[in-house]
Point group: C2
Chain length 127, copies 2
Amino acid sequence: MAKRNTKQRNAIRSAFIEAGRPLTSGEIHELVLSELPSVGIATIYRALKDLVQEEWLTSMTIGGSTRYELANLGHHHHFHCNQCDKTFDIKGCVGDLTSLVPNAFKILKHELTLIGMCQACNGEMAS
Amino acid sequence: MAKRNTKQRNAIRSAFIEAGRPLTSGEIHELVLSELPSVGIATIYRALKDLVQEEWLTSMTIGGSTRYELANLGHHHHFHCNQCDKTFDIKGCVGDLTSLVPNAFKILKHELTLIGMCQACNGEMAS
DNA sequence: ATCGGTGCAAAGGGTTTGCAGGGTA
DNA sequence: TACCCTGCAAACCCTTTGCACCGAT
C-alpha cells in the first residue's frame, strides 16, 4: 500500500495548504478542476478518505456540510459565516469544561463553533 | 395552512417530550413505529420539517447525524457519547467569546459539543 | 511490468417530492 | 365536504464502489 504522488493528489494537497481554512469536497473539486480540468469527484473523495486515514487531514461537519482541513493545526476551533457559508479557523479556546457534566461522564474532547458573519461579508454589508 | 392533529404527529411530539434528549430521524421513526406500526419515513421527515419551521423543534448535526430537539429549551449545549452514539443536553455555558475573533467578525451564536463517554456507557466499562 | 490511482457510471444511504387515497376539521 | 396528511415509490444529493484503463515507481 505504498502511496503514489499523482498530479491529482498533489493538487489536492496544495489546495489545502493554500486555502488555510476548512474546505468542502465541492470546494476542493472546483479548486483542483481549475488546474486539472478532468478530475472526477470520485478521485477527490478517494483522496480525501486516504488523507484522513493517514491523518494528514481531519474532517468535521459545520454548517450542514462535511469539511476537511489539515490535521497538524493543533487544538483550535471554528467560525462559520452564515452569509458566504465559509468556515474559518480561530486560535483561542474556552476554559475548563469538566464542571459542565456529571463526573460519570468522561470528556475526551470538545468542539466549539462560533456562527455569524465573517469579515468580508460584514464589510460588504457596511458598504 | 391550518395544522391538523393526526395521530402520527401527536406520536412524534410525544416521543420528543418523553425522550428529553436530541433524536435522529431514525430514532424518531422507531419510537413512532412502536406505536403506529405503519408510519412511513416520509411522514416523519415531513413532520420534522414542519415542526422545525414552526420553531417547535430545532435541528443540528452532531456525531455525523442530524438530530432534532425541542426548541424551547433555552441556551444550552450538548454532550455526545462515542460509545452509544446518543447526544445529551448539558446546561452550563462558556463565558464571553467575543475576544476569540477580530472585531470585524460578528458573532450571532455559538455551539459547544463535549465528546466522550456517557454515564451509562462509562458504568458498563467499569463492571 | 507491476499494481495503485483515475475516470466514468452505477450503486448506496439519507432526505425530499409526486401522487392517489384517507382522515381531520 | 374540503383539503391537509399519509404511505408508497420514485427522485435527489452526497458519497462510495466496480471496472477497465492509465501511469508512477
